[in-house]
């Protein structure tokens, strides 16, 4: 009898909270439901009325099957008693028709119902539904769509100065004890943060392009041998350094803890864009009767690979080296020999400017939050500039290739070298201006040979 069933206190409290009267709970318990099942139904939003209807249908032996359902059952090989049993357990005709049309066999249906009819009741935990995360969060799309910044609401948008978790727990989730550490080593915001990284991530996603089909490859016509060799050498050089940047960033990604997912996501787009640059410049080198050229000496590469902390890597790669690469892209775009190269350099330029935006905004964040690191950053740049100069001295191939490309032929290399020097000057002016914005005055400390290039 329903009125003789005892309702556990916890279930009674939940039932009151969810609007299930005691008599209904007792009736359900009497029908064979466990307290845990009932608590689960209540948490899933089953109302008292729905529960009453279900119990009534079950008590009445279920609804009478329609002729259409019986015909479908016959076609599917389900005996009539099985159909009646399913209906008596509360299944809807439409659902049964669906199962039949999906090929569910009578045997499978019997097994399923046996589980649901008290034979082997699934014991649900459902405690995960009560964790104290910030609930009722409703992010709204902006003009830019549903962006990372748009979902940074309440607790989910709080980026702590120090992230205390070693695991891959997402920011805003609830930690559980005993999870193994994932090997992260960066737990301080100032080590990686940039106030622009979420926006830069969205920008990178929206402004992507596809080398295989977007570049007008068929616009490339045979070039004189010296020009083809020059562009192929430039492509070799750029492929190398973009691959190196991808490799280096790829190594830093797993060091950054999950609390700073905006940075991790942005760096992922940077790696992708480095890969795209490797792809597109390799394709250009191999698309017009030329091939790859000679490798670079790699002094500058090594200074990036050897960086021992993230900010060092960013200062040398994503501010110093990328300022040079951006200047190279801008000038190659200016002297492109066909619409394909125009497209390639014009788009690579945009990507590189985003990498720089992250680098510069990160340095500014460090300077604002850890002014004591100012001298440290200057020393990283000392090293980076020294290695960059070493590349300049030891890499005539790249310098000459740019000069021939800018000059238009080997005969015009002198004019090309003049443009090359303008490119180096522009790189240095912009490099210093970017650092100045990040509150780093590098004018007096610039390596003497670079200063000479700047003042030439």
């Amino acid at each position: 009898m329903a009125d003789t069933m005892t309702i556990p206190e916890a279930l009674r409290a939940k039932a009151q909270e969810k609007g299930w009267p005691d008599d209904l709970v007792q009736q359900a318990l009497a029908a064979g439901a466990t307290p845990e099942q009932l608590a689960g139904y209540m948490d899933q939003g089953v109302t008292a009325d729905q529960a009453r209807q279900f119990l009534a249908a079950r008590a009445a032996g279920g609804a009478e099957p329609s002729a259409e359902l019986l015909a479908a059952a016959q076609a599917a090989g389900w005996p009539e008693d099985l159909v009646r049993q399913a209906l008596s357990m509360g299944a809807a005709e439409a659902d049964l028709m669906n199962y039949m049309s999906m090929g569910v066999t009578a045997e499978q249906a019997r097994q399923f119902m046996a589980q649901g009819a008290g034979g082997a009741q699934p014991q649900l935990d459902l405690s995960w539904m009560h964790v104290p995360t910030e609930w009722n969060t409703r992010a709204r799309p902006t003009k830019h769509g549903l962006t990372l910044e748009a979902i940074n609401i309440g607790k989910y948008g709080e980026v702590p100065d120090t992230w205390p978790y070693q695991t891959e727990m997402p920011r805003g989730a609830v930690p559980i004890p005993g999870v193994e550490g994932m090997g992260y080593s960066i737990f301080e915001k100032q080590e990686v943060w940039s106030d622009a990284c979420a926006r830069l991530y969205e920008e990178a996603i929206q402004r992507r392009w596809r080398p295989a089909t977007d570049v007008p490859w068929t616009s490339i016509e045979p070039l004189p041998d010296d020009l083809e060799r020059a562009i192929c050498q430039i492509c070799t050089h750029i492929s190398e350094k973009e691959q190196m940047e991808a490799d280096v960033l790829g190594r830093w990604e797993p060091e950054i803890s999950y609390g700073y997912h905006e940075v991790k996501l942005y760096l992922a787009t940077t790696i992708f864009e480095n890969a795209r640059a490797v792809e597109v410049f390799r394709k250009r080198a191999l698309s017009n009767g030329g091939g790859l050229g000679i490798q670079s000496p790699g002094w500058g590469f090594r200074s990036v690979v050897d960086a021992r902390n993230f900010t060092e890597m960013v200062a040398v790669q994503m501010v110093l080296q990328d300022s040079l690469t951006l200047a190279q892209y801008a000038w190659c775009y200016r002297y492109a020999k066909n619409p394909a190269e125009e497209f390639i350099f014009g788009h690579a330029l945009q990507d590189k400017a985003r990498h720089l935006a992250y680098g510069v905004t990160h340095l500014k964040y460090v300077m604002n939050h850890r002014p004591d690191r100012r001298e440290e950053v200057q020393r990283y740049l000392d090293k980076g500039e020294t290695m960059l100069l070493q590349d300049d001295r030891k890499d005539p191939a790249t310098r000459e290739a740019f000069a021939i490309y800018f000059g238009g032929s080997k005969e015009n290399i002198r004019e090309g070298l003049h443009v090359y020097r303008r490119m180096r000057k522009m790189f240095l002016e912009q490099y210093l201006a970017r650092l100045q914005w990040a509150t780093i005055d590098r004018t007096a400390r610039l390596m003497p040979d670079l200063k000479a290039q700047l003042e030439a």
């Binding site: 200016r334 945009q350 970017r434």
Partner: protein
Amino acid sequence: MPVFPSVEWFEAIKNIVNNDPAFRQLGTIDATVGVKVGGKIYELTFEAFECTGVREASENDLRDMDFWLEQPYDSWKDMLENIKKNGKADLSHTLNTIDLSTPEGFAKSHDGYRRDAFYRFNQSLQDFFNASSKIETQFAAPEAVAASA
């Protein structure tokens, strides 16, 4: 026929790009860009996938813009005539080329970081000016307009 430079002229270009799916495909552009033609200054606001505003601005407003594009009226006219003739800027008349060829600078800013928006959104900005090939432009030097007013 809109007169260059004028708010009406920039509005006409704005309407073209905002209705052009190809402009949207280039991706989001978020920048406040000045265009300085002689003594006249115009402010173009880009937000998400479109140009959201055009207005006449003043010298003081330049400080608040990400960057501004500045060259003499005759150079603007030369650039726009080239765009009209080719359907888009040829390599000698792209914004990038003009920037590299102008010793005193073409894309200017008071801010070493915001100036890089010129590079980040370069192809969208080029597309914006290339869209002028779709309208008939009447040219009038700002000084001449001011003198006749």
